[in-house]
């Protein structure tokens, strides 16, 4: 019982991390139809910024390093939008994908050539590494904080997208960028805002990833972002709630297969996870929370 509760909690926190990243991917996808493959590198930038700040100033206090990481992620996200993604804004989806891929190679190799291929230690707030025993389960603080923040981020984003003009404009810009401008909105700023939010989420996720891993390295973002990408589609790409749900489901699947598969086939865990995801997608191509309407000749 205790064991089960603990594993459920683990699933929530793994899922929470995917969910944060899936949200970040989904928001950029929903404004630009861009599958941001460079998102993993945004995470890495957050980590390296913390590393650089720490090794230059020696300051290792979480209250300083956490904002440094988050600001760096926001900054790089905005910068990438400006220099790399804006020129391909009108291009076919595959072009955006490739640009993102190119950006990710550049950033990764930047760290490889100028820092090191090896991982570098980054201090994270001590208290994140602690645990409390509540009733039947031993809860790590990082797990509670992360799950809570994911929920808050989702609520905030839903509020922004549903209730504010800039949020409406984000959703509108996805379909018709020029028309958004023709109702008098600076659509560039709108898209930039989406990237900023996405960067913020990456920064947040980066803090948690680094708190768990203890180090940064040039490849650290790839795995989580790949999973987050799957999570976002699983939940219904473009639907924020879907992204979060997808993240949690993927977390649960991973934990489930990790503990349920006998050790002789445990190595196939990812194959099982992806196979199940495929089954769900074949059953609901629009994603779990994506709604399927009959549109006839109309547009969604």
């Amino acid at each position: 019982m205790e064991y089960l509760a603990q594993q459920v909690l683990n699933a929530f926190s793994i899922g929470g991390n995917y969910a944060l990243l899936a949200l970040g991917l989904a928001i950029v996808f929903s404004v630009m139809r861009l599958v941001n493959f460079a998102y993993g590198e945004v995470i890495a930038v957050a980590g390296y910024a913390m590393f650089a700040f720490f090794s230059l100033t020696g300051v290792d206090h979480g209250l300083v390093l956490v904002p440094v990481g988050i600001l760096a992620a926001i900054g790089i996200s905005i910068a990438l939008e400006r220099v790399a993604f804006r020129p391909v804004r009108y291009a076919p989806a595959a072009t955006g994908l490739l640009t993102a891929f190119g950006v990710s190679i550049v950033i990764r190799n930047f760290f490889i050539t100028l820092v090191a291929t090896r991982s570098k230690a980054v201090p994270t707030p001590q208290w994140l590494g602690q645990h409390v025993d509540i009733g039947i389960a031993r809860i790590q603080l990082i797990q509670i904080v992360e799950t809570t923040l994911t929920a808050l981020a989702l609520l905030l984003l839903v509020f922004i997208l549903r209730r504010t003009n800039i949020g409406l404009a984000m959703r509108a810009a996805a379909r018709d960028f020029d028309m958004v401008r023709m109702v008098g909105i600076n659509a560039n700023k709108v898209i930039m805002a989406a990237f900023a939010i996405s960067g913020f989420l990456a920064g947040l996720a980066a803090i948690f990833i680094i708190a768990r891993r203890g180090v940064v390295d040039p490849f650290m973002g790839f795995g989580p972002v790949l999973k987050a990408f799957v999570a976002a589609v699983l939940g219904g790409f473009g639907s924020l709630g879907g992204a979060v749900l997808g993240g949690f489901i993927l977390g649960a699947l991973e934990v489930f297969f990790q503990i349920a598969l006998p050790s002789s086939i445990a190595g196939y865990r990812d194959a099982f996870v992806f196979a199940l995801v495929s089954v769900i997608l074949v059953w609901r191509p629009q994603g779990l929370l994506g709604v399927k309407h009959q549109f006839g000749d109309k547009d969604e």
Partner: protein, 339 residues
């Protein structure tokens, strides 16, 4: 008078550059350069293979390299001498460790196997469009890789399988590459190819015009898998050994980059993309290894290649978002300009 179909002229034009490159390298190049040429031609086959499905259906495909892997492993397992198999995969299932096939039979069986797998997974994939189809192809890549890495009795896991007789000859690779270019172009220009392209641009319109989108996707998917599989077979015959790492994200993304950079909607785009990326890569590799230029020895700068490759991709996409040759074939563009 016999009229030469348009696709033949177009394909011939497209194949010209690779042929010239091949002849130059074979005549003047070193051993290493000939090896690079072979890899270039194999990439060409992979990328044109990728184009056949992705370029026509407009579905981003992240799964094609799994067919390279399936065929590569199949060809390797079928052609490795029994003596070697007895030491590295003695417990291979289906008695695979007990016989050896010749390279041609091995290749044919390997390609057929990949196409069969493609046919089976294809039934699922062609039902979906857009991003969920892409995720399914991604799932395919992960699943196939996981199986290759874990089915130790059959594949030796992440350890390399070795001992594949290296029977390749550059001219043979060149001929296959040219054949693939013609094949890809023929498919693109054929009525089914055109219909598939239409469905990629407007699914509703294409279906309302009677296009059997799923069937055409399936056909393209299986053909694409076959061509990619051929690339995989040539790859093992060239390298002589094989490990699952070669059939994962790195190769997937590299071939994808080549295709999109050149222009994914055309065979010319695929070919140009491979040429540009290979050339860029080799030039950067040259600078990386501290060459002496005008008497100045440049510093060694490992990691430079990746950096610049990324930069080239980002820049070219910014300057030519539809790829270097755009969405039309080179000959079509020339014709339009002159006509």
């Amino acid at each position: 008078m016999i009229r030469i179909p348009g696709f033949i002229k177009g394909a011939a034009l497209t194949a010209l550059l690779p042929i010239i490159i091949a002849i130059l390298v074979v005549t003047f190049g070193s051993g290493a350069q000939e090896r690079i040429l072979n890899l270039f031609l194999i990439n060409l086959i992979l990328v044109v293979g990728l184009q056949i499905f992705m370029g026509n259906s407009n579905i981003v495909n992240l799964g094609h390299i799994s067919f390279m892997g399936i065929a590569g492993y199949a060809a390797a397992i079928l052609t490795i001498p029994v003596a070697i198999k007895k030491t590295i995969i003695p417990n291979a299932p289906f008695g695979l460790a007990t016989f050896q096939l010749g390279p041609v039979e091995g290749a044919i069986l390997a390609i057929l196997l990949a196409m069969l797998v493609a046919l089976i997974v294809g039934f699922v994939i062609v039902r979906e469009s857009g991003i969920s189809a892409t995720i399914l192809t991604l799932a395919l890549l992960v699943i196939v890789h996981t199986i290759l890495a874990n089915w130790v009795e059959l594949t030796r896991g992440m350890r390399a399988l070795y001992g594949v007789p290296m029977t390749l000859n550059t001219w043979l690779v060149l001929i296959v590459a040219i054949a693939v270019i013609f094949f890809g172009r023929w498919f693109r220009d054929s009525p089914p190819g055109l219909q598939l392209r239409a469905s990629g641009e407007s699914l509703v319109a294409a279906e309302s015009m009677g296009v059997n989108v799923r069937l055409l996707r399936l056909v393209a998917w299986v053909l694409s898998a076959g061509v990619v599989a051929a690339g995989g077979v040539l790859y093992v015959y060239l390298i002589g050994s094989i490990s699952p790492k070669s059939f994962y994200f790195d190769t997937t993304l590299l071939t994808l980059a080549m295709l999109i950079l050149g222009g994914m909607n055309s065979i010319s785009g695929a070919v140009i993309g491979v040429i540009i990326v290979t050339a860029g890569f080799e030039i950067m590799r040259y600078f990386e290894s501290s060459p002496v230029i005008f008497g100045v020895k440049l510093p060694e700068f490992l990691g430079l290649t990746g950096f610049f490759l990324g930069l080239i991709i980002v820049l070219s996409m910014a300057l030519r978002p539809k790829g270097m040759v755009g969405s039309d074939e080179i000959d079509e563009t020339l014709q339009r300009k002159s006509g």
